[in-house]
């Protein structure tokens, strides 16, 4: 197999203790040799055995960049099934960047996002679900998402889907056997039995679909709500946050769950700013933006940013909102700090035990502090989510929905008293949709199943 050699930093770009630069492809060993120097200066990686670790240095133009361990794996016994070299270096964004540059100067090409996984998939090392989970790991924006992805990588989703397919295959085989050999196999009373089976499958589908909802949180960041009475400056604040990060904003409106208006990345922490509290609707009347709405929004959010007008004294409504923030992760912003301020952090500290920041949406004071605090909260693990294990992506979700629809049609066919062979049309569609989820082929196995389980006569 011929492939060009790619390289990338395989660990997170964060100030962690250790980092890995991975090289994969036909020339991986040769490329590594060009930047590697053993302690004695005599060891050549090309000559070392596979699956060994070598100690040494990474050099750039004769200058030592870092002291490293080099892990050697010859294909196909590697993640990508190609020759692979992993350089375990001291972590740190700068250092890893230097090493990668050196490796690229030595003949590797920078890997595209997910390219290692793509190669592993194309080389038959991993199936589709695992490939997607790994890509999710790469794209995962925080540790929780990482956890979901890891579980998926270990095949939790695969296992669930595989089990469902097994059940479907058994039912299909039974129906087909009866059709091919009507004189030996009867389907009397089969409908009601199948209905129970389908009900159970539908429950699993629903469970997995729910985890999709939760899985999205993992992947797309902290669900954040900005609440506050009208004219306190919510919109300006949002515009500032979005505007500052314009380059990395993704518009994910139109997704099926609660409409997420904007996605913002603050120093690596992703916030989904949700439009549940009339953020764009500054003309909204007081009654409608009242406590009830704030309560509802706050209940759904992982983080609540409560904006107050620093030029006005708090009223009863503010008191009520503050009360329901007690149980939430929340921040209080005192906006309009550029004007004549009547409300200071000190003044409300007694009322609410949350971080309080004075900001001015007009002259941008306090915004950096806000970002810093949010990141700190995130990295200290204060922003928590639930921990469902099956994080699935949109493609998988759509296939699950399709499978679910066909299962419902099977139930409909049973209810309508259709002959048994009609069940198999939708059973097969469900089976295929699930098969597509995990990248398994449909052919052959059905016939195999028929032969292995049922006695056919002629």
């Amino acid at each position: 197999m011929k492939s060009d050699t790619i390289a990338a930093i395989a660990t997170a770009m964060s100030p962690s203790g250790i980092g890995i630069v991975r090289i994969s492809g036909s020339d991986a060993f040769a490329v590594a040799d060009r930047v590697y120097r053993s302690k004695s200066g005599k060891v050549r990686l090309c000559e070392c055995e596979s699956h060994t670790i070598q100690y040494g240095y990474i050099c750039d133009n004769g200058q030592v960049i870092d002291e490293v361990m080099v892990l050697l794996m010859r294909g196909p016994r590697s993640y990508t099934a190609e020759d692979t070299v992993e350089i375990d270096c001291h972590g740190g964004v700068y250092l890893m960047g230097r090493i990668l540059e050196a490796v690229i100067a030595a003949g590797a090409r920078p890997a595209e996002p997910g390219e290692f996984t793509k190669r592993a998939f194309l080389n038959g090392r991993i199936d589709l679900t695992r490939a997607e989970a790994v890509i999710d790991v790469i794209n995962a924006k925080n540790e929780y998402a990482l956890r979901g992805s890891m579980d998926q990588l270990q095949g939790a989703l695969h296992e669930q889907v595989r089990k469902m397919r097994e059940v479907l295959l058994h039912e299909l085989a039974l129906i087909e056997s009866a059709l091919d050999d009507p004189e030996h196999i009867t389907l009397e009373g089969y409908g009601s039995q199948l209905k129970d089976t389908v009900d159970n499958l539908l429950k699993t589908v629903d469970k997995l679909l729910k985890s999709f909802e939760n899985g999205r949180i993992f992947k797309e960041g902290v669900n954040t709500v900005i609440v506050g009475k009208p004219n306190v400056g919510k919109s300006s604040l949002l515009n500032i946050l979005v505007g500052r990060e314009r380059a990395i904003v993704t518009d994910v409106a139109g997704t099926t769950r609660d409409v997420i208006e904007e996605q913002i990345n603050l120093n690596g922490v992703t916030l989904n700013i949700m439009d549940t509290a009339g953020i764009h609707d500054t003309d909204d009347c007081v009654e409608r933006i009242g406590v009830e709405r704030a309560r509802k929004a706050a209940a759904e959010a992982d983080l609540v940013i409560y904006v107050m007008d620093a030029t006005r004294e708090p009223d009863g409504e503010d008191e009520a909102i503050m009360e329901l923030l007690l149980e939430k992760q929340a921040l209080v912003l005192l906006n309009k700090s550029d004007l004549r301020v009547v409300l200071t952090p000190e003044k409300i500290k007694s009322k609410i035990n949350k971080q309080i920041i004075s900001v001015s949406a007009k002259d941008l004071t306090g915004i950096s502090q806000l970002e810093e605090i949010i990141c700190k909260m995130f990295f200290q693990g204060e922003l928590k989510y639930n921990d469902e294990i099956y994080a699935i992506n949109v493609r998988q979700k759509n296939l699950l929905v399709t499978a679910g629809e066909h299962l419902k049609l099977v139930k409909q066919s049973i209810t309508d008293g259709m002959p048994e062979d009609f069940y198999s049309i939708d059973l097969m569609s469900a089976y295929e949709a699930l098969g597509n989820m995990i990248g398994e082929a449909v052919e052959d196995d059905l016939v195999e199943e028929i032969f292995s389980k049922f006695c056919m006569g002629k």
Partner: protein, 657 residues
């Protein structure tokens, strides 16, 4: 003395069910055709069961008929009982099965062959396939100069020059029959085996393998006590196989079949004597079919079943032999004698012919293109059991396609390749040429993904036009199908517009069929979809119903009643066809595509698939490999526009209709 030398367009080797269809198709397409058989008496012989049709096989027969084949017509003339199987199930799995009068079936087919222009029958054993190169080695001149097939030679040394050869050797190549310790080197029914041809094929680089199958004993009807068995009658109203047969002509007096069961004593005898079975003793090397197991296989593999059904079927009107369906065996004669006599009604059974297993040489059909032509030897085609299938109907279907494509090759036309959404024949051939079949291949409804569309009742609507295009269907029949289509469409449109109110007359009819009364007016088509109702039952409420032929009414009923399901199936077909339309270059060196696993590269190089869909069905090619191929095709679009464009103009193997 000089050997005979003759020239033909097509040589067909073997006159079984595949050979007959192949030869008839060629001759009817104007090819000068010669068909060889080891014995004239064995033309279209049925050496195993006395049935034509059955689940999914009935579909094959109807498709053969719609394409212009002979099997359907032949059985309509010679059946002695007929049944539509699976009537309680949906229309997709209704399947015709007829009991044949074996002798009459054979005689009738022989008569047809004998009376077909351009067709010569010859009793002789073909021993060699000769390419142009082989001929020049013999000092002869061939019409072609490449490695193409140019002639066959018989055991006697006679040479028959030709432009195409179709091998339909059935179970005759190096055949060996086994009954316990008794082994004879003969073909079925004691006919002589063909012992030379295999070597000639092997010398041309064709790989052969060994399969086995078996048949039960035949018992003298006078020794059977039918009062201990359940009678199985034919249908009240017989449906013919052929779309050209007038249904009124097939309402004959039918004979009965009989049902009995094995019991613990039968199983005990089999278990005690298993060591004397050639299969269990390891004497048989060939692989047998799992779906058509011998009785000893059933007893071993399904040990929890305390009885197995056994069908006792007449082999014809002028014979006392009864076929003991479900009890094929290769156990020794004495064990058979004891074993059959444990069955209720067979206590005093007299065996006319022993059950036996038969081993024979055949090929892995992956060596063929879907046209049934050998990849290694242009002009050489094959069909039937030689290709690793089993069953008369499977054989006939392949024989017909091989005959059509051999003729088309000579005429310089593109081959006819039916896809999996067009016909069971398409499924059959696609499975044979893309999948590693480790046992004789039998057609089953479960093998067809799109069976709601591939019904036996619409085979004419699916395939008659193709048969016409090919040249095996006459204009009049083609016009009839077009007219049928028109009537169906018109009537469906009408039925969808007929509105019924909640009148007393309507409610009374609904009540009569146990159907829920109407609250408001509905369309007739909506009522038809209720499980308890159909087009015919609602006739009295449909005042302006035109007088339509029964086959049109049947289609209208099915197409409306199951509309939702059919639509879903059509969607599945569209998805399937998308991959079939993605053509791959042929020939192509898949070693140059990086990212393909080595195994996939080898398989793809070996098979040379025509399109992505076919590539994905090849055993050993995984979905991940298919993704790589899809990626490759995408790349081709940018990197090699010319090759990509040529794919989508050049190779189109379907006959356009």
């Amino acid at each position: 003395m000089a050997a005979i030398e003759e020239s033909y367009d097509v040589v067909v080797v073997g006159a079984g069910h595949a050979g007959c269809e192949a030869a008839l198709a060629c001759a009817r397409l104007g090819m000068e055709t010669i068909i060889f058989t080891v014995s004239i008496e064995s033309i279209a012989m049925m050496p195993c069961n006395p049935n034509i049709g059955g689940s999914s096989k009935g579909h094959l027969v109807r498709e053969i008929d719609a394409l212009g084949g002979e099997m359907g017509k032949n059985i309509d003339k010679t059946f002695i009982q007929s049944k539509m199987l699976n009537r309680s199930k949906g229309p997709a799995v209704h399947s015709l099965r007829a009991q044949a009068d074996k002798a009459a079936y054979t005689a009738e087919m022989r008569k047809t062959l004998q009376n077909t222009d351009h067709l010569t029958i010859r009793q002789a054993e073909v021993s060699e396939i000769l390419t142009a190169e082989d001929l020049s080695g013999l000092g002869k001149t061939a019409w072609t100069e490449d490695a193409r097939v140019a002639a066959v030679r018989t055991v006697s040394g006679a040479i028959y020059y030709c432009k195409a050869v179709i091998l339909c050797t059935g179970t005759y190549l190096k055949a060996r029959c086994l009954t316990g310790e008794m082994i004879s080197n003969t073909g079925p029914n004691g006919l002589s085996a063909a012992n030379y041809l295999t070597d000639s094929l092997v010398s041309h680089g064709i790989e052969v393998r060994r399969f086995k199958t078996g048949t039960p004993a035949r018992i003298d009807r006078r020794s059977i006590d039918f009062s201990k068995m359940e009678e199985q009658r034919g249908d009240e109203r017989v449906v013919p196989f052929s779309f050209t047969t007038n249904p009124d002509d097939v309402q004959i007096d039918q004979v009965s079949c009989w049902l009995t069961y094995t019991n613990e004593r039968t199983h005990e005898i089999i278990r005690t004597n298993l060591d004397r079975s050639p299969i269990y003793a390891g004497i048989i090397e060939g692989t047998g079919p799992r779906y058509c197991p011998s009785i000893e296989d059933k007893v071993v593999k399904f040990a929890d079943k305390d009885r197995h059904q056994i069908f006792v079927e007449p082999e014809g009107l002028d014979t006392n032999e009864m076929y003991i369906g479900g009890m094929s065996s290769s156990l020794p004669e004495d064990v058979q004698f004891e074993m059959y006599r444990t069955l209720p009604g067979l206590e005093n059974a007299k065996i006319v012919r022993n059950a036996y297993a038969i081993e024979y040489d055949c090929i892995d059909a992956c060596q063929l293109y879907a046209s049934l032509e050998f990849k290694k030897m242009p002009g050489l085609f094959s069909g039937g059991q030689f290709n690793g299938s089993s069953g008369y109907e499977e054989a006939a279907g392949q024989g017909l396609i091989a005959g059509i494509n051999a003729s088309r090759k000579i005429m310089g036309k593109e081959p006819l390749i039916l896809d999996r959404s067009q016909a069971y024949i398409g499924v059959l051939i696609d499975d044979l040429v893309t999948k590693k079949n480790r046992e004789p291949y039998r057609m089953m409804t479960s093998r067809a993904e799109y069976r709601l569309i591939l019904r036996q009742d619409n085979a004419d609507l699916r395939l008659t036009k193709i048969g016409y295009e090919v040249g095996l269907i006459e204009r009049e029949r083609y016009d009839r199908v077009c007219e049928k289509e028109r009537l169906i469409e018109e009537e469906i449109r009408r039925v969808k517009r007929v509105k019924l109110g909640a009148s007393a007359r309507v409610q009374a009819l609904l009540e009569q069929y146990g159907s829920i009364a109407l609250n408001t007016g509905v369309f007739l088509s909506e009522l038809m979809r209720r499980p308890e109702l159909d087009y015919e039952k609602l006739g009295p409420l449909d005042e302006n119903r035109p007088n339509l032929p029964p086959d049109v009414r049947e289609q209208v009923n099915i197409l409306i009643k199951y509309e939702g399901y059919i639509e879903r199936q059509v969607k599945q077909v569209e998805k399937f066809r998308r991959l079939e339309k993605k053509k791959l270059p042929v020939p192509y060196d898949y070693g140059t595509i990086s990212g393909l696993r080595i195994e996939a590269q080898q398989k793809l190089n070996e098979f040379q698939p025509l399109n992505i869909g076919q590539a994905g069905r090849i055993s050993g090619v995984t979905p991940a490999d298919v993704s790589v191929l899809l990626v490759y095709l995408e790349q081709l679009k940018y990197l090699n526009r010319d090759l990509f464009n040529s794919l989508n103009e050049g190779i189109d193997n379907e006959v356009s209709v």
